[in-house]
Amino acid sequence: MIAKRELFIFRKQRESTVFNHIFLSLLVVFSLGPVVLLGVNSFKSNAEMGLNPLGLPQEWRLENFGRAWEQGEFERTFKNSVIYVVGTVSLALVFCGLAAYSLARKNPPGGNFVMIYLLVASTVPIWLYLVPLFFMWRQLGFLNTYHGLILIYTAFNAPFSIFLLRSYLIGLPVELEDAARVDGANELQVLLRVIVPLAWPGFLTVGLVVGLGVWSEFQVAVIFTHNPEMFPVTTSYFKFTDRFGRDWALTNAGAFMMVAPVLILFLALQRRFVEGLTQGGVKF
């Protein structure tokens, strides 16, 4: 009797997923179509763009990339962005890792208060402090510097990184740390030799999410850097589209170069990206 009913349900479900697949495919076209178009258009010439705006190129040209690389000064801005990303990710991993370890294991007096503080801090609207922060940074001479932006990015990413790392560390078995202590390891050794090797997936997730955020960041960069020498790739590209707004082949190629590393990383590690971004990887 029960088996019969289950069979019935099973059959009904099988039937109905056709409908699901059709609509999901339409949604996929909606989501990926524009991205694919961006890639495809990077290979077209401007003349072809007007005649054939949505199709495949008749001739796959690579020259747009070279042109965009040079005109958009991508060599310098890529370097700058890599510095911002690497600087922020390493600072965030070290200092948020330490804080998360303390909160997860050391039971510091006032630890709950710290958690509440971070929770509130992560929802305070950025515009409450952005304007005074700008003038403070100007007074300190931190505008248009690498450390100026890196410090801001690290602070903005701190609540999320600490939460995620802490929840990762809490899940690890304590026994291994105790064993290391019995063997005479001090706190730092426990952290470096036991915690980090065990919790690397957590660190990787946080690093990816923070790195992605910094690579893509626009708002803070546009306010805190005015010197083209210091532009990250996003704001430099913004100025670039201002100059070459109608040169679609060029702007498409530039945008494609900017996202290509992100897309490759995402496809390789999409599980971690999705996990990290949906666990409070909130855009600031």
Binding site: K12, L24, V259
Partner: protein, 317 residues
């Protein structure tokens, strides 16, 4: 909990020492070792990042509160002028009121369009076994794109010479007209954002007890009834929480507007954040900009309070 497991062997005593903040039967003397172990070391680990965060966020936030009551230009002395900035904002500055209304329109759009897309996509995907991971990855992908790239893509798609509108014979610039620009920007934002919501809803849907679906099927529920009576109640906490966050974020929108129209045409897309940006960095009215920032904070806390109130009234958020 963790500390008393971690310590007994190291302290040389067999019994666990008492961590602070915990009621203990025996009082232990405050040795230097215990002070280091339970107070100094944990806080040494916390202080660097909390110090940085305080320096970058808390101090400027407090300064912002102070400057919002002054006529500060950004340079030099700030003169205390009481509530004058807020008076000006709400009673004299029409552009602020207009900007605020655009943020509210943005909020309403975001509460309807991405939520519908996400609920639709997630309820379809929850039933699918084969290829589920591929669908999820593909639909989530726009969310990882930098805003500047999304903006470039949609500027291309909206262009009046050979973009999408021309396919249906519409040859006006969607971003260039005051009655369509804000919605065109909001749709580009939706394209990027809804996949993120969908994954959150999907995760929540996978936590719903399948027995409920079986029961609904046995009772002869159709797709719509099943969604309305089983799926939606099952993921309600996530939906309501994200509604709250989306309402708060709606007051912060900056990137897409700044990149695509810069507030134009003729101020038709000027939202609060753009107004603040211009006041602070172009018109040298930092005090007034700080006051506008304060109002965003005020609206955000009103949203949070509203949801907390509903929860208290038994809405089970």
């Amino acid at each position: 909990m963790a500390a008393d497991i971690a310590t007994p062997l190291e302290s040389g005593a067999v019994q666990a020492p008492n961590p602070p903040g915990r009621k203990s039967k025996r009082k232990r003397p405050w040795t230097r070792y215990r002070l280091m172990r339970y107070y100094v070391v944990p806080w040494l680990f916390l202080i660097p990042i909390l110090g940085l965060h305080g320096f970058v966020v808390v101090i400027p936030a407090l300064q912002g509160v102070y400057y919002s009551f002054t006529d500060w230009s950004g340079i030099g002395e700030a003169k205390f002028i009481g509530l004058r900035n807020f008076e000006e904002m709400f009673f004299e500055d029409q552009s602020y009121i207009d900007a605020l209304s655009r943020n509210v329109q943005w909020m309403i759009f975001r509460m309807i369009v991405p939520f519908s897309f996400a609920l639709f996509g997630a309820s379809l995907l929850a039933k699918v076994k084969r290829g589920a991971m591929i669908y999820r990855t593909a639909l989530f992908m726009p969310f990882i794109l930098p805003s500047i790239v999304t903006a470039t893509i949609w500027r291309y798609l909206y262009n009046p010479r050979f973009g999408l509108p021309t396919l249906v014979g519409y040859d006006k610039a969607l971003l260039g007209q005051s009655d369509t620009a804000l919605w065109a920007i909001a749709f580009a934002d939706n394209w990027q954002f809804w996949g993120f919501l969908m994954v959150l809803f999907l995760t929540a849907m996978q936590g719903i007890d399948p027995v409920l679906y079986d029961a609904a099927k046995v009772d002869g529920a159709n797709r719509w009834q099943e969604f309305w009576h089983v799926t939606l109640p099952g993921i309600r906490p996530v939906v309501l929480f994200m509604m709250m966050m989306v309402m708060i974020w709606a007051f912060l929108v900056f990137d897409y507007v700044f990149i695509l129209t810069g507030g134009g045409p003729a101020g038709a897309t000027e939202v609060i954040a753009i107004d603040i940006y211009k006041n602070a960095f172009q018109r040298f009215e930092a005090g007034y900009a700080a006051a506008q920032g304060m109002t965003i904070c005020l609206f955000a806390s009103m949203v949070v309070t509203g949801f907390a109130f509903l929860r208290k009234r038994g809405w089970d958020i």
